[in-house]
């Protein structure tokens, strides 16, 4: 069975599923209970599940993420919401020194089965402090699973995967995708965390993307097809665990690789994909790996300036043309 849902509705459906089917889940964050979340992700949940299951916290990201960890270690399965990904930076200690390390440092004796949900990326008029795409910071941290759903269906499936995982999982959604609509398999079995997906087959070049850039890459592939270039598009979905096998298998077929993300270029996760390709796909590559990314500038607020930095389908098209020598 599949339902047509907007991305944000799919998030809501996954959270409803989590609170309904798992008694050990609790949901908390800023303005999530009575207000229902600034984007409506938790709309109706407080009314249905009550304050013991979903509650509002003070504006204290570090405090409530640490609380999520302690609760996860001792038997709950907390889902904590960071309203904007930009606010995760004030809680970086929780991600890097606490949540991601306790299982390892205790030799596997503690577990931290928690989920952090947040949304990221630019939107018109949002300033540098509300537009970060920080996934690379988190993917750099051993012990943390990191997923970036690109479709309403994945917003539902990946969040459910995160909830049942016994590892700490960060789900970074894309605010700009919230209004997008698509089929959501609401009765699908819960998948384990992980796995990239070829979302458009092609033979000339592999385009790896995630989050909002997947739809940009698909748009680009459509345009390139009219020029006779068959681009294969991979939705990477998870940065940890990284399914590089799917990327390598594609590059073995196409011989060319373009990586596209909205985060800025230097040290972005595209660099990791490029490095892995250089190390593991060298013999298959017929052209240098190309990266599509925002330039290394803080995100400006004015739409006229944003248009000059935010990568879109046209940037993917241009990178593919360079890569295939057209």
């Amino acid at each position: 069975m599949s339902e047509s849902l907007r991305y944000i509705q799919a998030v809501n459906a996954a959270l409803t599923w989590a609170l309904d089917t798992r008694e050990d889940t609790v949901y908390f964050g800023e303005d999530v209970a009575l207000p229902g979340g600034p984007f409506g992700a938790t709309k109706g949940l407080h009314k249905r599940f009550g304050s013991t299951r979903i509650f509002d916290t003070p504006i204290s990201e570090s405090g409530f993420l640490g609380m999520a960890l302690g609760a996860a270690m001792t038997g709950l399965r907390p889902i904590a919401e960071i309203m904007y990904a930009d606010f995760s930076f004030v809680a970086m200690d929780q991600f890097v020194n606490q949540i991601s390390t306790i299982r390892y440092a205790s030799n596997g004796r503690w577990r931290a089965p928690l989920v952090v949900r947040m949304q990221q990326g630019y939107s018109p008029g949002a300033c540098a402090q509300h537009s970060h795409s920080p996934e690379a910071y988190f993917a750099h941290t051993p012990g943390l699973r990191v997923g970036l759903p690109a479709t309403p269906d994945d917003a539902y499936q990946m969040l459910r995967s995160a909830v049942v995982s016994d590892d700490p999982v960060l789900i970074a959604e894309a605010r700009m995708l919230y209004p997008t609509r698509g089929p959501v398999r609401t009765d699908a079995p819960v998948e384990p965390v992980g796995g990239a997906r070829v979302v458009r087959p092609g033979t000339d070049v592999t385009v790896v993307a995630w989050s909002r850039m997947v739809s940009a890459a698909l748009d680009a592939a459509g345009q390139l097809a009219e020029e006779g270039i068959a681009a294969e598009v991979i939705d990477l979905r998870w940065l940890n665990p990284l399914d590089f096998d799917t990327v390598a298998a594609s590059v073995a077929r196409t011989g060319r690789l373009v990586v596209a993300h909205e985060a800025n270029l230097t040290g972005g996760f595209g660099a990791e994909i490029a490095a892995r390709a250089a190390a593991e796909c060298f013999a298959d590559l017929r052209a240098p790996v190309a990266r599509v990314a925002a330039p290394d500038v803080p995100m400006p607020a004015a739409p006229a300036l944003q248009a000059a930095v935010v990568p879109e389908a046209a940037d993917v098209v241009a990178a593919v043309r360079r890569t295939v020598g057209r």
């Binding site: 609790v26 570090s62 405090g63 302690g70 503690w110």
Partner: protein, 311 residues
């Protein structure tokens, strides 16, 4: 409980840490260690107010809390020797060890970071109705961490069963408390969180037990968190190897006259003194046996180094 038991536990902590220092000097323990010499009455008194199932979270100066919760001596020595201990397999060492079997949520090497985690353990207790409380120890320096502020307020608004024990040894690592805060007692901040705060003599296990017991009872009945500020003095440096040039002449010598073990010794009559001598001998033997047993624990297998990153 009471005097002989408290003395035994404090003596065990002291002896354990003295032995640790010697092992470090002999090169058997790598890395930095942070000792609680002089502060033993705080964990011993506080844990007297606890029962099985209550959570304890401590700092890198947390050996006393681990021992007060019954964490195994051999495991502690082996862990700190970098061996494949039953505690953390050598992955945590002195400043980050934990023991779920003893509800010891663990130490933390990031100053103040234990408080939000302890609030989480309190949240579990509250939401599951287990009746457990969560006790967390920090130093006076940690009261200036944003994390701690966030967690106390969170615990207050959620009425979490959390007890914050501030071990005020008047040094934020190597800096005097007077230069770090503009309040005379850190519990003056309790009013700012809307929670009770009490100052106690942290070198008196009975006083600590009474104050923490009151806070634990309050937490257990659902009335929310409290802060207990236990005044104490560090007999040693912030870390092993700290030359303590920053401490005024005579300060440590004076502290040695007031520390909890000496205090009990001074007040003891002949009969008690004899009993304490026997305890000291037993503790020394027990600690030495633990060192011997720990030395028999193998070093961890490097082939396992990537295990337990994920489930």
């Amino acid at each position: 409980m009471g005097l002989p038991d408290d003395y035994r536990l404090m003596a065990r902590i002291r002896r354990f840490e003295e032995r640790l220092t010697a092992l470090k000097d002999d090169g058997e323990i790598p890395g930095s260690i942070h000792l609680c010499n002089g502060q033993e009455a705080i964990p011993v008194g506080a844990c007297r107010a606890l029962r099985d199932g209550d959570y304890v979270t401590a700092t890198y100066r947390g050996h006393g809390w681990a021992l007060s919760r019954g964490v195994d001596l051999v495991g502690l020595f082996a862990e700190m020797m970098g061996r494949d201990s039953a505690l953390c397999g050598g992955r945590a060492a002195s400043p980050y060890l934990s023991d779920p079997a003893r509800w010891f949520v663990g130490e933390n090497s990031i100053v103040g970071a234990g408080v939000p985690v302890a609030a989480g353990a309190a949240l579990t207790a509250q939401r599951t109705g287990s009746g457990a409380v969560s006790v967390v120890s920090i130093g006076d320096g940690a009261m200036n961490q944003g994390n701690v502020h966030e967690a106390i307020n969170l615990a207050a608004v959620l009425d979490l069963p959390l007890v914050l024990v501030v071990e005020n040894n008047v040094y934020s690592e190597m800096s005097r408390i007077e230069d770090m805060v503009r309040v005379r007692q850190l519990t003056e901040r309790a009013a700012g969180y809307g929670v009770p705060g009490r100052v106690v003599d942290g070198n008196d296990p009975d006083a600590v037990a009474e104050a923490v017991g009151e806070a634990v009872a309050r937490a257990r009945e659902g009335s929310g968190p409290s802060i207990v500020e236990a005044m104490t003095e560090r007999l040693v440096g912030h870390y092993s190897g700290d030359a303590q040039h920053y401490r005024p002449a005579g300060e440590i010598a004076a502290a040695r006259e007031r520390e909890p073990l000496v205090r009990i010794r001074r007040a003891a009559d002949a009969a008690l003194a004899e009993q304490l001598d026997a305890i000291d001998a037993e503790v020394a033997a027990e600690v030495e046996a633990a060192v011997t047993a720990a030395r028999a624990v193998p070093f961890p297998d490097p082939a396992t180094v990537k295990e337990h990153v994920h489930v």
